[in-house]
Symmetry: C2
Subunit: 399 residues, 2 copies
């Protein structure tokens, strides 16, 4: 399905560039380790990031954007590995709802990722070999801790906004709970305060698909010049279905056949949806590391924000002054509106400043990445209002 | 995940018993081949089946039950391979809604299956080796053709009822369309007249998981003493999630941990849902053949009843005298109620005799296999009414 699993992939090239990536790097040596939720410490470590726009003199206009499971730091600029535009370039950029003519936008690759930030493909300084499964398991809070260190490194005290969808939204909620005084406004989209049983189940299928691939080699494939591309592709295919809605699959593909007039009575990709999914799987393995997939899915599974607060989500936000803009999508069955409502309920119980919008869309969970005008209008309006409250000047000619 | 993939499984034992299974067998020699939708002919071929109750003198009380994707002919008796009770023993049996004190119930393993009926593990008489992928692709209509031959073989002209859920329901609809004069009543449950894009997608993930397993060996694993157990287990895990609802997973497992107090910060099955899914995968490979999984999922994907009738589903039922009882479940997202409504709409357009019930259940697609009283009451009422119309005496003391 995925070609020669031992061939060099784009992700390999990225790994080779770890010490000289195209992204900016913040490096922390062993004297500045990161203490993780597991109790382990990680150091030296590094975080790769991109920035857009200019930090103002008062350092009041910084926006942190957090990426989703397979996202990256290239939120508003071309991903050098894939050549594709930034994954949220309709949301972030000059004149966009998060306007880089006004705000200084930071986006970092998550801890455990594979695009420059320390992850399982990083060389373990103690062994001189890639960490593989010897990297401690990472949590969403660990990702946020690493980002906070980056924000410190940039000399920024308070973020004007933290925004993100899906796993990015989990990080937004964690930021608001862990560092309430550092988050002026928060925009968690299509997310949840805890990963559901069904979502853990889908992640477990993906992990088992990777681990079932003999080329995974117990996680040590990099040292053996192997790549579990088939298992990773299956994991991606399964996940990809959950990002779309039944309705959008029906509209986009239905039962249409792929480049043929009739059924072939075989196991080739007769249907367009099969061909599409196979393509999703095949291209994914070129840009993502299999062990990172294990680590980042695990971080999402472990996420249960109320768990830090005796099971009471409202306590996570007690006394918060952060302004929240919560958004969900009607056809998102991976992070359904009920999950957002639970967050809104907790925020209301904490007497927080919260707006909630359920956006009508038939595009499923992926809607947060797509061209959904109501989402853009909502974010633009919320950000503009928050900027006024924060005393950040509006861009010339726009409001 | 699934132990030694080269070990002998229960399914292997079943294959060895092909010539002397515990089930009844109807064998058809090469002079009585089955002509398939693909254009291929299959012969010799055989069909394994179970019966319950007694055929009356007028042969008016025969009920055919059709099984789902991974079901079998043991609808109301212990499956000799697993030792588990019949898969629909709450629906079919003495005093049950399909009452074996009154009706003669037939249930056959589907064509392409792995419990005695000709399938990919059957020896190809031309080569002396298992068919593997040289077996022609099978359709739902082919399964029904094979069942019709069995019904002929049993000397039965008209079936009092044909009943089944999921893929079993597809066969019920096909029976009603292909042999309307032979079906007095039809009970398709939790099914659809065509497999949706999303459902094809999930099947494709399962097939790719199997094919990604090097032990699948291009489908020739039986001749090489290999078994693609890891790939098949992943396929089952992915499918199993789709059989349950988000709500039932939440109620049954939530985020509960498995035999531990705290997260382990590793990749073992920390959560009960992970442990449960792994168990589902591991036990499945003992009772099911990987190539059969490919063939039977393909048959479902290919199912599009309207396709035989210029895309007009109503024409599939034009002039039918069959009485229909259509049932769906509120939380079934694999075969949602909208699919059943489309069938009801077509039946109404054909002026057919149709009852439709959407049963309130939070158990997802699996509800049709579970203890759902409203389903049993509905089937009992429908069957009793149809029996009166057919002139079949009610059992003593019951109505």
């Amino acid at each position: 399905m995925s070609g020669d699993s031992q061939s060099t992939t784009i992700a390999d090239a990225a790994r080779r560039e770890t010490d000289a990536p195209s992204s900016k790097l913040a490096k922390f040596d062993a004297r500045a380790p990161l203490t993780l939720d597991s109790g382990a410490t990680l150091g030296p470590w590094q975080i790769a990031y991109e920035t857009y726009g200019t930090l103002n003199a008062g350092k009041t206009n910084a926006v942190l954007v957090c990426h989703a499971l397979t996202g990256d730091q290239y939120v508003a600029s071309t991903n050098p590995l894939t050549g594709k535009p930034g994954w949220w370039s309709k949301m972030v950029g000059p004149g966009r709802p998060i306007d880089t003519d006004v705000y200084f936008v930071i986006c970092a690759n998550v801890l455990g990722g594979c695009l420059g930030t320390t992850g399982p493909a990083t060389t373990n300084p103690e062994t001189g070999m890639p960490y593989g499964l010897s990297l401690p398991v990472i949590t969403i809070r660990d990702m946020v801790r690493a980002q906070a260190r980056l924000v410190d490194h940039l000399g920024i005290d308070t973020l004007f906004a933290v925004a993100g969808g899906s796993m990015g939204g989990m990080q937004v909620l964690q930021w608001a709970a862990s560092f309430p005084e550092r988050v002026f406004s928060a925009i968690p989209i299509a997310t949840s305060a805890r990963h559901s049983s069904q979502n853990i189940a889908f992640h477990e299928v993906g992990r088992q698909a990777i681990m079932a691939d003999p080329n995974w080699a117990g996680g040590a494939y990099l040292t053996k010049d192997l790549r579990p591309t088939k298992g990773l592709a299956v994991a991606r295919m399964a996940a990809h279905i959950t990002y779309m809605s039944d309705e959008s699959l029906h509209q986009k593909f239905g039962r249409n056949l792929q480049d043929r007039e009739d059924l072939t009575f075989g196991f080739d990709a007769d249907f367009q949806i099969e061909s599409y999914l196979r393509h999703q799987g095949m291209t994914f393995v070129d840009r993502f590391d299999a062990n990172s997939y294990l680590y980042v899915t695990r971080a999402m599974d472990y996420f249960d924000l109320a768990g830090e607060f005796d099971g009471q989500l409202a306590r996570a936000f007690q006394g918060t002054k952060t302004r929240f803009c919560i958004m969900s999508f009607t056809s998102d069955w991976l992070f359904p509106t009920a999950e957002s409502r639970a967050v809104v309920k907790a925020l209301n119980a904490a007497a927080a400043n919260v707006s909630f919008v359920e956006v009508d869309s038939d595009r499923g969970h992926d809607a947060f990445l797509l061209d959904v005008p109501e989402m853009f209008r909502t974010v633009r309006g919320f950000v503009t209002g928050a900027a006024k409250a924060r005393g950040i000047p509006a861009p010339g000619g726009r409001d």
